[in-house]
Symmetry: C2
Subunit: 366 residues, 2 copies
């Protein structure tokens, strides 16, 4: 399911061959938590350059439920996207909802943040739900280890995730869906190495780096990515989960990562933070109230082609619904066009120069 | 600025020739209160069949202000629509905000519902603001008479509006903008006749029927529209303000009306009420939670072509922003395609048959 087409230093150009289509890598996957990338239609996503989108198993299991999505033909049919999708496993919620869950050897019991109902997730039930959701790529259920955590805590947590990974692999039917394992081990090189080895022994279609971007210093994150980029098998796709800023993406590619996802472009858009080639634009700023200029005159998105800063400021200030559409579309296009430029640079063998130039650009500072 | 191209009974087929483009009539104008039809982009509006959109002078005068819109090139440039627009005058807010305003012979003092600031509007200031906003069609400032009102109250209110109409006409520079007069007179035939005569004596580019759809029984509304449809000049466009349901539009056309506007399709969409060829769909209804069917299989809109009732139900129930886009797009398309069918029927001289068939259709009951 993965074709490695070129290498340029540690950076890789590849292609995911998936049931719902082919996806060039490195790729950024917009996050559609509840089977919808907030404020954007599938048509808008495609026109912005999205080729694979993500759904969250934990949230979808609660609303509308795996069975409903299955009845409606699976995620890509349910939400009208009809292209490749990936579902996470619920492992991130083991971390993010840790005040609302109890963990044991067999699995995790959550209390639903919406109504207090309990939801039990195990490696087997996560895989079963992900089979109902029907994404092209599904993820092993794990415990995303928090930061900071001691060596002993991290080791214990990682080893539990590896036992769960084996159970996920066993529960996974070798059908059209591709199951990825998730490397844990916090910021401890030896634990990351042990985790990768455990997953390689089990054998997965791809390997994800989990448990980063959870509060650790950026240098620690990049050190872990570097180590794993060097050690992960070349013939499988590598996915850095939940990352990150535009610079994080470039740094990840430079260390051999193929896939990224993050709510940042869409969430920040809704909060009024817009990314441009000149840096961050806080659209609420009164300075934009009368500016005829587009948000980013180098951007080719619908928003920048048709609207002024003044209009975006007006929409945001007055809570007009159209603001969310135009802002989300732009921020996503910034991410997706960045990945296009990254792929072009690798294809031409000039990624090192691209990397150096990008690091000093205003977009690297947002 | 108006070409009458065909008549079929009292129904009329025509064309508005405006600075920003030509518009076939009868036409429905989506409402973009704050220079945005809520949740929809100009591209989506155009693809749904919109050809002219409306802005509200009172609201735009407060946010972002006429001067800002003028600096940005006028309404159609400011909001990226770049097609024909119409602005109301603020007269409707004399009615709808009557708890927050004081009226005198010269004009109206409002207290801003957002911050309590006062806003003074006179016939002259309304025209001046509408000149700043730069719409293709602008409206005389009037007092929209409430319902119920006695004959004497209605007569006094209408005569004030006629004095204001003369001041508006005087304040209006004969430039690119077309100024319409607004007929008042409540549900009293004699007062409506006097108001129309007063406006004809002043002379306007078009004539609007104001002060209806403010709570009066439907038969009284239709009786007034019938009378005025018979008495208004054939060579000028006729605009029935703030109306209405799909059936109201068909009834209006049958009585000689050319132009309509209403928040109903977009507001009802946001509230979960969707219009279809089979009648009203309350999308929140649990019966839709697993329905694979489209909202309306006879509808050609993006929403109906790509999404199931189950997905729309899921989006609405979980307050996903995408819901507003998809729902608003559909309801607006229902209105705009209804007007397309009306125009086609008049062009073929079969409007009477269309009218009879429509009256018994489920869409006539929403």
């Amino acid at each position: 399911m993965f074709l490695l087409k070129a290498r340029d230093g540690a950076a890789r150009l590849g292609e995911l061959v998936l049931p719902h289509g082919r996806v060039e890598t490195p790729v950024f996957m917009p996050v559609g938590t509840l089977a919808s990338v907030k404020a954007l239609s599938p048509l808008q996503l495609r026109e912005a350059g999205a080729r694979i989108i993500l759904g969250n198993t934990f949230h979808l299991a609660l609303r509308p439920g795996g069975r409903v999505v299955q009845q409606l033909g699976g995620l890509a049919s349910f939400n009208g996207w009809r292209g490749p999708t990936l579902t996470d496993s619920g492992g991130f919620q083991v971390f993010s909802l840790r005040e609302r869950r109890k963990l044991d050897e067999d699995g995790v019991t959550f209390s639903d943040p919406h109504n207090g109902d309990t939801l039990r997730m195990t490696p087997e039930s996560s895989i079963a739900t992900q089979q109902q959701l029907g994404a092209d790529i599904i993820m092993a259920f794990d415990e995303c280890t928090p930061y900071p955590a001691s060596y002993e805590q991290t080791e214990s947590s990682m080893r539990l995730s590896m036992r769960w990974a084996a159970r996920c692999r066993k529960a996974h039917e070798d059908g059209a869906q591709h199951l990825f394992g998730i490397i844990q081990g916090g910021v401890y090189p030896q634990l990351r190495r042990e985790s990768l080895k455990a997953l390689l022994d089990i054998g997965f279609a791809g390997y994800a780096i989990g448990g980063l971007a959870v509060g650790e210093p950026k240098e620690e994150m990049l050190a872990m990515v570097k180590q794993l980029g060097d050690e992960m098998p070349q013939d499988r796709p590598r996915y850095l989960m939940g990352v990150g800023t535009p610079l994080d993406l470039v740094e990840g590619v430079a260390r051999g990562v193929d896939m990224f996802d993050c709510v940042m472009p869409t969430r920040n858009a809704r909060n009024g933070s817009l990314f441009t080639g000149s840096g961050l634009v806080k659209i609420r700023n009164a300075a934009y109230a009368t500016s005829e200029k587009p948000l980013d005159d180098a951007c080719d998105c619908y928003t920048c082609n048709n609207f002024s800063l003044a209009y975006l400021h007006h929409l945001e200030k007055n809570r007009e619904l159209l603001y969310h559409q135009l802002a989300s579309l732009h921020n996503l296009r910034v991410y997706l066009s960045l990945l296009e430029r990254i792929r072009a640079a690798i294809a031409k063998g000039v990624f090192a120069a691209f990397y150096t130039a990008f690091k000093t650009s205003p977009l690297a500072k947002v």
